[in-house]
Symmetry: C2
Subunit: 204 residues, 2 copies
């Protein structure tokens, strides 16, 4: 669809070019499907731009690697092999997963989430990536493991051009307040409601 | 999140395994962002499962290749090179794009959309792919270029295990009626509303 034309021009003192290049803070929230997959689809666009991508999964663990992790890491390998696209770094918590600060330990979920956030903060300060995917990041906020005020200040004041995507149900109002794009994935039909279980290729 | 447990068990005469493997018909609709990107994120999961993926873009054209096309076609090339993941076939209409039936012609949009749908029907009948992404497919339905009744009958009666994802605003009620999963991407904030224009890596 031709969706590129602005309905109005903002009175924000920015040039069109500045506004156009304003770093995005995208929040995908709501109880419906598509929050994580939409973030991963954005990562495909970022990869094509040659951007460095950091993906931080704050909650998911499970027995299997997710399809999005394997596929995006394959694109990261393609970048290293041929120079196409951008680099991809993936940080996942949970059993059997590589974790950045304590590769041999199995920290509990709340510790892992706090360490992941500390890592994100370090990387934002260093302008390490152009796109950050903070997958299921709303849950450690809701559970009180990570301070919302710290997250809001850090993301609001992040330097340079660094785009951030946050996914998860129940995004805090303060986070929505500083976001550039917020989509509520509203469930109209969900297969689990009729007794269907998750299936490979669809849910992971 | 642990979202895999069904809230109830359906009284549909199917075994758990049959229900679990029931082919998905996913509809991503609504005016918010994330409809296409969520479909592309699902394609990453499908790729990891080794599924054959067919992507049909019914409307988008523009000057640039989309990031999702380049990235998913890179994954398709990786499959051909190493055997990893699944195959990816991409069909896009519009200027400068490969089109399947008339590679040298530049058909008008409505003709191209009808030919794309004819191609999808042929492939569904032949069980050619395991995942079909029908991107922005709601628009030719809304515009009357393709009959909704034909689409509903074709998708409802498709043979075998073929998953289908449809994206676009204003999905017809009859399509929602036969879908297994429907998400309404509800716009809470959209950058275009404040005069921001689309930017590479975020909008394409």
């Amino acid at each position: 669809m031709p969706e590129g034309a602005p309905a109005q021009v903002a009175d924000d003192g920015l040039s069109t070019r500045e506004r156009r290049l304003r770093p995005a803070l995208v929040v995908n929230t709501g109880e419906g499907k598509g929050k994580t997959t939409a973030a991963m689809g954005l990562a495909l666009r970022a990869w094509h731009q040659g951007w460095s991508i950091g993906v931080f999964q704050f909650v998911k663990s499970g027995k299997w690697l997710s399809g999005e992790q394997v596929a995006l890491e394959a694109l990261g390998a393609e970048h290293r092999r041929t120079g196409a696209g951008g680099e991809v770094e993936w940080f996942a918590t949970g059993a059997g997963r590589r974790w950045v600060r304590k590769p041999d330990a199995e920290p509990d979920q709340s510790t892992a989430a706090r360490e992941a956030w500390a890592e994100v903060k370090d990387r934002l300060a260093a302008q390490r990536h152009t796109l950050y995917v903070l997958d299921e990041f709303t849950y450690p906020l809701t559970w009180g493991w990570i301070e919302v005020a710290d997250v809001v200040a850090t993301l609001r004041d992040r330097p340079g051009t660094q785009h951030v995507v946050v996914t998860g149900r129940g995004a805090p109002a303060e986070l929505i307040g500083i976001a550039t794009t917020v989509t509520h994935m509203t469930k109209m039909k969900h297969p689990f409601d009729t007794g269907q279980k998750g299936q490979a290729g669809i849910e992971w």
